[in-house]
Amino acid sequence: MADLVNLTIDGKPVQAPPGTLVIDAAKRAGIEVPAFCYYEGLSLQAACRMCLVEVEKMPKLMTSCTLPVAEGMVVRTETPTVAAARKSMLEFLLANHPLDCPVCDKGGECELQDMTFRYGAGESRFSENKVHKPEKQWSPVVFYDMPRCILCYRCVRICNEGMGVNALGIVNRGVVSEIAPNKQDHLECDECGMCIDICPVGALTSGAYRYHTRPWEMEHVGTICAHCADGCKTTLGVRNNQIIRGNNRDRSGINDEFLCVKGRYAFDFYNHPERLQSPLLKVDGKLEPVSWSQAIETVAKKFQQVREAGGKFAVVGSNHTSNEEDFYLQKFGRQVLGTGNIDHHRTGDVPALLDALSGKTGKLAVSADLYQRKAVLVVGADLALEHPFLSFQIRANYRHHQAHVYVVTPRPVREDAVAAVSLRDACADVFGPLESLRAKLAAEPELVIVFGDVVKGEAVRRLVDFGESLGIPVKYVALVDYSNSRGAVDMGLLPDAGGLALPEMLAAGDLDAFWVVGANPLKAGELRSRSAFVVVQDMFLTETARAADVVLPAACAYEKNGTVTNVCGEVQKLKKALGTMGTKPDLEIIGLIAREMGAAPVMGPWTAEKVFDEIRRSVRGYDIPVPVVAAGGAAQTMPVNGRIPLDGRPDLIRSARDSLFTSGTLGRYSKVLNSVVESRNNR
């Protein structure tokens, strides 16, 4: 450890590494110095002057957000002079502030309110006319109310430095300065809402949340985003069985405060008018609503008939359902229906990676590694569009630790801006470009390799051989698409040896029963087995559901408990935020079918906790600490020993290449994703 600097803050002896800012040193000593413009991790502004402190031997009050600690420094953070200075700053701020707290979204969690409460300045000495400008809407999700803005520039910085988008700037000067969007009167950006989230006051508000409720009237449920595989924690604000907002202000998840447009706003598929709320049964070629008991009975009876007749089943699982549901489904398929024809839409070659790394420990990166490791290599993925959180981590790593970033992609990507080297692999052969990077990579102290679906099958082994030959510690991430794509693989939603893979199921022609849980294989494909009995569990009447004999309305990820595994193998807990009338979680649906078929003794109870116990006992790598997950944390799966069975079908692996504004079926039914202009501009 480098020599620590000794100083005194409010009489407390404090030690801090050289270069630490006084405001941070104070925080670590349990002393909070108020700040509006200072924001850990973003560039310094020294604009708000709230963090002024007294420092012995310095004639003026100093901004603790820009002052590095020095040996023997004596700092006082709460003297009468300091308090008076802060009160005067607040008085200046409030002079032109509209004080519409009673209707402002931020009321109750506003930093300006908190500070005014702490330092006074509640009575105004200002009797002139205030500067006023009308509120502006910059996009369906971002609104700006200039009079409330205290010009702390947090929004500008998070967008530029954090998101790498740089959509916000400042126009005019003096008291009429204001924040402005990149397209003059509107925004074209990631629509991530990070700017809104970070705004200390109610100047930036979100289209989803504004004027709907007050923070204290909501219940806050921390769960995992239902969209991409990065597995961000999102805290849903729920009132009257409605989700009103998503954020991660308590920074409790792996994603700290990060959320992209999907995690923050695209929860709104759950109450789409086309949401299925009753089981449907095909009668005379038409789907008619029936009761749950009738629907379950129909399915159980038919499954039983097919089983007894020795007929042919095929089961398709989901990229979005929980680990428990995936496990339960494949178990049901294998043990009750007696079939090995089980698959899902595979989006990344995780098995090949696990196999190539089998027997080695410390080789699978967690999302934090992308922020901490000294070098990152991105192969064949546009992370900013496909894995927004991983992309954010890499930018932050570059900003805070000057990480070396290497990029090998077919097209320009946002990571180019922070990359030491960017190569375009026009011919889709990544190994040529990789070899040319060999010397540079080998000179790094450590590396994380993130690769997309262009690297699959044998190429994964080749990539691992390449990484292991560099002679430095290397970790890997095999990218997959959706919130539980990784879990689907781990839980075994893959065919047995000799079993049918998804395209073969569609092409078979002799299926007797086709069971699809949370997937839409008929969107692009066709089922040749015209006479097969088709059961679909879904939230919406997808192309596949339309072809079903029985449709069972499923609960979404925000409506159930369970666990999901993210792209890095981090297992996290889903927490039920609300319920939608008429729907049931897939786990319960499967359980009901099992009971109806008399298979309950084989299947066991269908509570998420019980199934998770079984997963821990029987799924390789999942013997993870329960308390970590139960407490809302993330526990990475364990490395695997021994070969992983590979079916040698890398051709089946294909990322859907969802962009920031699409998300498979969920995206089709999200109002927000369809309303932003970028969803029309995007690829």
Partner: protein, 437 residues
């Protein structure tokens, strides 16, 4: 072109070529000792040049009065980065109009000063950041620079010395704040003109993140004389700790407004009476601004026995500043003067930090209401209080510059505020308008 008759009290060092025919041409410059100092400097080591400037006691003429030689010595000599010379020609301090004359009448003197600074810190490029409103000066400077290039005083291998130097003009876009050194650098780099966090100072991290010497036009213009005639000779012209002459801009209620080159330490009353020809209309002096609108205002009594130099002004709790002297006679309404000054700062505040952004406009509105006869007694204290709350707490000195004159006027002319109370019309109704920016 000259705008006023010279005064016999002047000591013409920087203005020695003013009034010569074609004074801006390189021919005239060369015929009158031009580039002699540069040739001499070519024979000197950088340390010797800096030492000579230190001996001269030359202090920055842009307002803060920081010793120029000392500033130059802060440039890290062993830095592998290129170094830059930046000329602050943004001259926007109300009451100040001297840099324009130096550039208009003797642009080559500035070029020579910049070249010597370049030698002193091993810089090979310079920028002259010229106030946008000085359009015609940009043309004059560009012409002079082109002339210097064509005659081998700029560019590669200057005078066969192996020393190369490129000089550019850069146009300001109409913001007082862009005269503040770090905001100037941001603006020079093409960004919004807001100040930077310091430290690091420009000498270490300046233009394009490289070590940079940044001085006022007048500061550079003094350098050729210092090198040519020696630092000691220059120092001897002024007072201890402040060498040489200062271009003083007399404006306001005075008979002979204009720019005069006076030795530092020149008595204030003598300046008003003899150089400026006394107060217009035989009126009495009421208030005195020594160096631009940012300085605390002095009363007539405070001006007796006062001399024009940095330390004497500091003893009176004001500043020599940029040399923009404003004379206000007995008919001046000081509330209105305060308002006029605050209107300027409210308009020019860049808006970066809270106290200046909000404070200047608030005080401006208060003063306006007060002057309109709608003030209350409590407003007087409020005005002073708000200024105090700004003072020393802003991000850059503009906030102080706005607070200081206000505080001094409230303190020293309190009774004039009282005279505006109770809806009384301004008692100085017949007062002439201030001749100020």
């Amino acid at each position: 072109m000259l705008y006023n008759e010279p005064s016999p009290h002047e000591v013409k060092v920087l203005t020695r070529r003013f009034g010569l025919e074609n004074s801006a041409s390189l021919d005239t410059y060369l015929a009158t000792d031009g580039f002699k100092a540069f040739k001499k400097a070519l024979e000197m080591t950088p340390e010797q040049i800096i030492e000579e400037v230190k001996i001269s006691n030359l202090r920055g003429r842009g307002g803060a009065g920081f010793p120029a030689g000392l500033k130059w010595s802060f440039v890290p000599r062993n830095s592998p980065k290129p170094k830059y010379i930046v000329v602050n020609a943004d001259e926007s301090e109300p009451g100040t109009c001297k840099d324009r004359l130096l550039m208009e009448n003797d642009p080559h003197q500035l070029i020579e000063g910049v070249l010597i600074a370049g030698l002193a810190v091993d810089a090979h490029a310079g920028y002259i950041y010229i106030r946008g409103e000085y359009r015609y000066l940009i043309e004059i400077m560009d012409r002079a620079i082109a002339e210097a290039y064509s005659c081998g005083y700029l560019g590669k291998n200057i005078l066969g010395s192996n020393f190369h130097f490129d000089l550019y003009t850069h146009t300001g876009a109409g913001a007082y704040e862009c005269g503040e050194e770090s905001a100037l650098l941001e603006s020079l780099e093409g960004k919004r003109g807001v100040p930077r966090i310091r430290p690091p100072f420009p000498a270490v991290v300046g233009a394009f993140q490289c070590p940079t010497v940044l001085n006022n036009v007048e500061t550079y213009c003094a350098v050729p004389a210092i090198i040519r005639d020696g630092g000691a000779a220059f120092a001897a012209l002024g007072v201890p700790k402040a060498g040489g002459t200062k271009l003083t801009c007399l404006s306001g209620h005075i008979n002979k407004p204009g720019v005069y080159e006076l030795p530092l330490g020149f008595p204030v009353m003598k300046m008003i009476e003899e150089v400026g020809g006394g107060i217009r209309g035989g009126k009495k002096l009421k208030a005195f601004i020594p160096g631009g609108s940012s300085c605390p205002v002095l009363t007539a009594e405070e001006c007796q026995d006062l001399t024009m130099d940095y330390d004497a002004m500091a003893r009176k709790k004001t500043m020599l500043g940029s040399g923009g002297v404003v004379i206000m006679d007995e008919d001046t309404c000081m509330v209105r003067a305060a308002l006029r000054i605050m209107r300027f700062y409210a308009h020019e505040s860049c808006g970066w930090c809270i106290p200046c952004r909000e404070g200047t406009t608030w005080i401006r509105k208060l003063l306006q209401r007060f002057h309109d006869g709608m003030g209350q007694r409590s407003d007087i204290a409020l005005i002073g209080d708000l200024a105090k709350n700004m003072f020393g707490r802003t991000f850059c000195p503009l906030g102080d510059a706005a607070a200081m004159p206000t505080m001094s006027i409230v303190e020293k002319f309190y009774h004039e505020f009282e005279d505006h109370l109770d809806g009384k019309p301004c008692p100085y109704e017949k007062a002439r308008q201030l001749v100020m920016a």
